[in-house]
């Protein structure tokens, strides 16, 4: 344990940050000092104080409580959309890589077409088409992530496919599904874990951007991006705390996953380290 910490201090720090975030999100009802949606205009626009660490907004809601509850939305979008991208992307990649031929050709052209769009623009276009809702934002961010996993998986499958142990396994008649699950998949998990961590960071950032543009969760649900959009008009009156709270929330969450992903990449995937 101590050896691991000394060997990989960045993984430990990143992991601790991510764990802390997850804990806060899970324990939001107990950690948040106030009800995040309760309106009480008699205490509106209060600057930070011992009662309200991050002040209150124009409806008298406690900003800190909204930031804490906002972490739930952000992290669940991160987890769900990355799962969508991961499951579909890895399946496509495995199939394409393992089967090859026409399947591979068609799948990869489709992936190329998805990659042809700047990721955020595609996510915005999909959400706008499906309608501004949290689950549509999740789907959009998930779809955008598919090509990354598909490419990564396919590349790894191609590189291990012709290895001796697989050829041997195939010769002795191991069924293809088992071959994939037992022999190919374990060989490609490391880069996938790195990718998943990094794309959680992207997903959180993308969700924040979508809700900043009004395409995410609807009010009064506390979400970081929408809260910044909502609060920005108060900047001219120098009520900065309303925007700074959720802004720091996004920053910390994205930073934590980026930091962890970066550290994992260095530790798990020496091949990628050079270009890190």
């Amino acid at each position: 344990m101590i050896w691991f910490i000394r060997r990989n201090p960045r993984i430990v720090i990143g992991g601790a940050l991510v764990t802390l975030l997850l804990l806060v999100a899970l324990a939001a009802p107990f950690v948040a000092p106030y009800d995040p949606v309760e309106v009480d205009v008699s205490r509106s626009l209060l600057p930070p104080s011992p009662e309200h660490w991050l002040g209150t907004d124009d409806l008298g809601r406690d900003v800190l409580s909204r930031v804490i509850w906002g972490s739930r939305v952000s992290l669940s979008v991160g987890v769900i959309s990355v799962s969508i991208g991961f499951i579909i992307g890895v399946s496509v990649g495995l199939l394409a890589g393992y089967l090859g031929g026409l399947v591979d050709l068609i799948a990869m052209r489709a992936i190329d077409a998805l990659l042809a769009f700047p990721a955020l623009i595609l996510a915005i276009a999909i959400t706008a088409a499906l309608g501004p809702q949290l689950q549509n934002a999740m789907i959009a961010i998930g779809v955008v992530a598919i090509p990354l996993y598909a490419r990564l998986t396919r590349g790894q499958v191609l590189s291990v496919r012709e290895r001796d142990f697989l050829t041997a396994a195939r010769t002795v008649g191991v069924p293809p599904t088992r071959l994939v699950l037992r022999h190919i998949f374990p060989n490609i998990t490391n880069p996938l874990v790195v990718q998943a961590t990094l794309s959680t960071a992207f997903a959180i950032l993308a969700e924040a951007t979508l809700s900043f543009l009004g395409l995410g969760a609807q009010p009064p649900t506390p979400t970081w991006g929408a809260d910044i959009f909502y609060s920005q008009r108060w900047l001219t009156n120098l009520k900065w705390w309303m925007s700074v709270g959720p802004g720091l929330g996004i920053f910390l969450a994205v930073f934590a996953f980026n930091f962890l992903g970066d550290a994992l990449r260095d530790a798990l995937d020496p091949r990628l380290r050079r270009s890190a």
Binding site: R109, A110, D112, A113, L114, A116, F117, P118, A119, L120, I121, L122, I124, A125, I126, A128, A129, L130, G131, A201, L205, A208, T209, F212, L213, G214, L215, G225, I228, F229, Q232, L235, T236, L238, W240, S243, V244, G247, I250, F251, V254, F255, N258, F259, D262, R274, S275, A276
Partner: protein
């Protein structure tokens, strides 16, 4: 080389075709009848039926797609539902503002990235290097709309150095234009700057480990000469790739940045059009951003192959 470019161009054709299908499908996925809006509030079912026929919207989707594609290939992408302006004209009008903002951001992110990245590679593990590394991860983690608001708060509202938004034409009021440009350009540049700095640093470190640099060192050449003459040239190859890929990041970033600063470019047009359900405009912007992104990727790959003869022309883009 010519053969390589040709092959890449041919490969682009099926992808571009799929891209148009995705764009077309996206718009027709969305619920709601665009014509109802187009017809205005005093609409009449009979008039709408005529219009629907006129616009071919009563045809099956594949037919509509072919018609749309055919018009698009002729440069006719319809008229904006909001302003009745031809879509192509509306988009082209906005290109200069976005182009200016993008170039400024690219300039900032590349020039500062080069300086800081080089310094941090040369003085590896120095406090400066650590600080720069910390900043780069922070830079990519900071949402640009939040950074934008902080910059407005500090530089427009607190010390009133730059305007908080708006635009002045470059030709006509150049000084005013630059004043308006500073904050959005910095906002847009930050994320790319982080990526660039990091990329330059690691590719320099990579070349430092190569044999010819070691030879140069052994010959007693000064570090400055080694960096400038030997390492930099080779290290720039992956940097070209990264800069090329920045184009995508800048197109993405422009959406939010232009919105925050009321900068009248493509990004703001996109957001306004989404809010106004102006499908022809949204469709065109999504299509154009995909095509220009594909095109830059191609250019980057060609440059890459040209800069580094070791790379086989058959290499797929990563």
């Amino acid at each position: 080389m010519g053969g390589y470019i040709l092959r890449r161009l041919l490969l682009m054709v099926p992808v571009a075709f799929l891209v148009t299908i995705i764009v077309f499908a996206l718009i027709h996925l969305s619920p709601g009848d665009p014509l109802v809006i187009y017809a205005g509030e005093e609409r009449d079912e009979a008039v709408i039926a005529v219009l629907r026929h006129e616009y071919g919207l009563d045809q099956p989707l594949p037919v509509q797609y072919v018609v749309w594609l055919e018009h698009a290939l002729r440069g006719d992408l319809g008229r904006s539902l909001r302003t009745h302006q031809p879509v192509v004209e509306a988009v082209v009008e906005r290109v200069p503002a976005t182009f200016e903002l993008g170039l400024a951001a690219l300039f900032i992110s590349v020039s500062i990235g080069l300086v800081v990245g080089t310094l941090s590679a040369v003085k590896r593990n120095s406090p400066l290097d650590l600080l720069a590394t910390g900043f780069t991860i922070a830079g990519v983690s900071l949402p640009n709309f939040f950074l934008g608001l902080v910059l407005i708060l500090v530089f427009s509202l607190a010390i009133r150095l730059f305007p908080p938004g708006g635009y002045a034409p470059l030709f006509g009021e150049p000084v005013d234009n630059l004043r308006h440009l500073v904050l959005p350009a910095v906002t847009l540049a930050t994320a790319s700057l982080a990526v660039n700095t990091r990329q330059i640093r690691s590719s320099l470190l990579d070349t430092f480990g190569q044999d010819y640099v070691r030879t140069a060192r052994a010959k007693g050449l000064s570090e400055a000469i080694i960096v400038a003459r030997h390492a930099m040239k080779n290290a720039l190859i992956p940097v070209v790739t990264i800069i090329g890929l920045q184009v995508g990041a800048i197109i993405e970033g422009a959406i939010v940045t232009e919105q925050i600063y009321s900068w009248p470019g493509i990004g703001k047009l996109a957001v306004d059009s989404i809010a106004g359900r102006d499908y022809p405009v949204v469709q065109t912007i999504v299509l154009l951003s995909a095509l220009s992104y594909m095109f830059t990727t191609l250019v980057v790959d060609v440059l890459y192959a040209w800069l580094d003869p070791r790379i086989s022309y058959g290499r797929a883009r990563s």
